[in-house]
């Protein structure tokens, strides 16, 4: 290679570097394997799902292009609309309750007391259990005649409840399982936030005569709010796509009382084999998750700015 050629190459590389610091086109081939895998496992399935959503396609039958018909059908599908309501109801409860209980638990475990480590370890045990196993155990506990929950209620004189066996109480009962299972996760996130809170503001507040509640309201809560919002985002995504617990305990029943979008999607795709229609449900569901997540991320940013 001549000196001139070398000089030319160097100057072109300099030009690239000048355009984007740290970017060198020569390194691009190193990214190709990762790009190929991303395209194969993320981009392709998505494109294929979008493609299928434009077809009336039932397994075992011929495919027919129907344009946006699957999406317009969804808009008038009473069962799908009902499932959105169930999903939002379930999600709201399954986010708010673990966040409240998890924050309280984090505040408690942030204090020093004997055997704190042991109690904290016991508290996070539910999180380690497999969701399907948890669901099976709770199914037995919910049994209206033989379940341990009604037995415990009877000990304090409360009449037996129907839990997941009544359309009126099925979603709150399923949320109880989620709360038991995932409150420890929120506790761990918030506890991490509490560990990073400085002590100086509290010393100043004490000198100024602030009460414990005032210190929590005006110092602790604002400082741990970004962590709580992270917990809310994680819980919300988890709750929106909750499937195993609901499927194992109620399969969406009684009737359709606990049928969430996920359960409905599963039914359409794997029980009725309506692949085209199920793909349309997937896309609408994905948009819903993205919108809700963006709202929460915006709130998180706003909390940071504040």
């Amino acid at each position: 290679m001549t000196q001139a050629a070398l000089g030319e190459k160097t100057s072109s590389a300099d030009a690239v570097t000048a355009q984007k610091p740290g970017f060198n086109r020569n390194y691009l081939p190193f990214a190709y394997p990762a790009l190929a895998i991303t395209a194969a496992v993320i981009v392709f399935p998505w494109l294929f799902t979008i493609y299928m959503s434009f077809y009336d396609w039932k397994i075992g039958q011929a495919r027919e292009f129907v344009g946006f018909a699957n999406f317009t059908k969804l808009a008038t599908d009473a069962r799908f609309i009902e499932s959105i309501g169930h999903t939002l109801y379930f999600t709201a409860l399954a986010v708010i309750l673990p966040v409240i209980f998890g924050t309280i638990a984090a505040l408690l475990f942030n204090e020093r007391f004997p055997l704190r480590g042991l109690f904290r370890a016991i508290f996070i045990l539910p999180m380690m259990a497999t969701p399907v196993a948890v669901a099976l155990v709770w199914t037995m506990m919910f049994h209206p005649q033989l379940g341990v929950l009604n037995y415990l209620l009877s000990l304090v004189g409360i009449p037996p409840q129907l839990w997941v066996y009544s359309p009126a109480t099925v979603i709150p009962s399923l949320v109880a399982v989620e709360v038991w299972h995932w409150t420890p996760l929120v506790m761990l996130i918030v506890l991490g936030g509490l560990a990073s809170v400085p002590v100086e503001p509290y010393e100043s507040a004490k000198i100024d005569g602030a009460s414990a509640w005032q210190m929590f309201r005006h110092i602790t809560l604002p400082l741990i709010m970004p962590f709580i919002l992270v917990a809310i985002v994680i819980r919300m995504i988890d709750a929106l796509k909750a499937f195993d617990t609901i499927f194992v305990i109620t399969s969406g029943g009684p009737g359709t009382a606990s049928e969430t979008i996920n359960i409905y999607l599963y039914l359409q795709a794997f029980s009725f084999y309506n692949i085209g229609y199920a793909s349309a449900v997937t896309i609408v569901f994905f948009i819903l998750i993205i919108v809700l997540t963006l709202v929460l991320l915006y709130l998180r940013q706003k909390a940071k700015w504040t």
Partner: protein, 450 residues
């Protein structure tokens, strides 16, 4: 039966021949001879290996427990898996659609998958294999299969794409102790069932006269059981038209509502068979309508408080007919399998007299062979009361498909299941069935048109 006579003759000849040859034969030859019955060489495909996909349950348990015997007999290695019912059905459909299923043998739930597998021609026709004397053991005794089992296994176009494995008639388990305490005899008619359920119910003490499934999808066979008592199928078998808003269908739903709402424990809208079984096994339920395969846990002292107190009753007389809603399974071979012959040997072994006898003795199923119910040794080895066997035989004799033979059976069960759950929860039966019929009609029409 003529084949049976020939078998004996050939077997005798073989025995004599094998006996004489055995004295001088080399060990390898002797090994081959032991794998032959009636001149039939089971070792023809020795060295091959097949994959078997079974539905999780007592039938799969029996097959898997004795799998080694099949390998010893044939030299064919078996890799088997037992997948829970719902997931198995989905897995099978997805694999067939991929064009190259990963299994060589599978169990098929006739009441759900028969039309689907028949229409798609996913399975190999068993008839040519059965007719091939080089592949079918002379002592297989095909005529021993019951007419009901063979009817289930045969498609509308005459192809037999499965061999009959099991029949599951629905009947009523009843608690003899509770009936005796009230001085009641087991009811003979639908009307008497309601009267008995009413007398047995004492909500204050937590005792109920009746229990049956209420969970959507699982509840449809309960309703169709009552419909059959009105001599009405949910779908006309000839015209494939829905008969779900007929006066008989509505009466059956109202009857179901009456029993489950007034005389069953609270919460049955969410009950599947397992909750019903748990309730009944605690000794506080008078009658439980379900499949006949739940007797073993009810007679197991570690799982039940009603051991020795359970009565097994055939479905009582309905207003117009007396039928037992029946379900069943077959065993078949994918048309795409490259090891059809080896797979066929497995199917033959799985439905042989010996395996059928074992299935009956376990109480986990009702084989489709007539000899299973007449063979003294089989009956002597039965672990369940004789009353159960009598009930099974009588129920089978009045058996009638409990679900329609259509492709979208699961959708049928789901749509009508929701309506029935609402009905037993207090909604009007006619309104719910009309709504469900309107929702399902286009699905059925589209399926039949394609």
């Amino acid at each position: 039966m003529e084949d049976g006579k020939k078998t004996v003759t050939r077997r005798m000849a073989l025995k004599v021949g094998a006996g004489a040859a055995g004295v001088f034969a080399m060990p390898a030859i002797m090994k081959t001879a032991t794998a032959q019955t009636g001149g039939f060489n089971w070792k023809k495909f020795a060295g091959q290996s097949i994959e078997v996909s079974l539905t999780l349950g007592p039938r799969a348990d029996v097959l898997r427990r004795h799998e080694k015997e099949f390998t010893e007999l044939t030299g064919i290695k078996v890799g088997s898996e037992a997948v829970p019912e719902q997931q198995h059905r989905q897995q099978v459909v997805i694999q067939f659609n991929s064009g190259s299923p990963q299994f060589d043998v599978l169990t098929v739930a006739w009441h759900v998958q028969k039309r689907l597998v028949g229409k798609s021609k996913w399975l190999a026709d068993m008839k040519p294999l059965l007719a091939d004397s080089a592949l079918t053991a002379p002592d297989y005794d095909f005529p021993d299969f019951t007419a009901g089992g063979l009817r289930w296994a045969t498609q509308g176009d005459g192809r037999m794409d499965t061999l009959p494995l099991n029949i599951d008639p629905w009947m009523i388990y009843w608690n003899k102790e509770l009936f005796a305490a009230k001085g009641l005899a087991f009811p003979k008619t639908f009307e008497e069932v309601v009267m008995a359920a009413e007398k047995l119910t004492d909500k204050a003490s937590g005792q109920y006269g009746w229990v049956s499934r209420g969970l959507k999808n699982a509840n449809v066979p309960v309703w169709t059981s009552f419909m059959l008592g009105h001599d009405m199928d949910p779908v006309n078998p000839k015209t494939v038209a829905l008969q779900t808003t007929t006066p008989e269908a509505i009466a059956a739903a109202e009857y179901y509502k009456k029993l489950n709402k007034d005389f069953a424990p609270p919460g049955t809208v969410g009950f599947n068979w397992n909750e019903s079984q748990t309730s009944f096994s605690q000794g506080k339920i008078g009658m439980w309508l379900d499949g006949i395969g739940f007797a073993p846990p009810l007679e197991d002292p570690t799982k039940s408080k009603v051991v020795g107190k359970v009565g097994y009753a055939v479905m009582p007389q309905g207003p117009k007919s007396r039928n037992s809603a029946t379900f069943g399974d077959g065993i078949g071979i994918p048309a795409a399998s490259k090891k059809k012959e080896a797979a066929y040997l497995y199917c033959q072994w799985a439905t042989s007299k010996l395996m059928c006898a074992r299935l009956l003795q376990s109480g986990g199923g009702s084989p489709c062979r007539a000899s299973s119910y007449t063979d003294k040794d089989t009956i002597a080895g039965l672990k369940l009361p004789r009353e159960w066997l009598t009930c099974l035989q009588e129920s089978t004799s009045i058996g009638r498909p409990g679900l329609p033979e259509i492709v979208p059976v699961t959708e049928f069960r789901d749509v009508f299941g929701v309506g029935l759950t609402n009905t037993i929860g207090g909604a009007d039966a006619k309104t719910e069935l009309t709504k469900a019929t309107e929702a399902f009609t286009p699905v059925l029409q589209k399926s039949e048109a394609s």
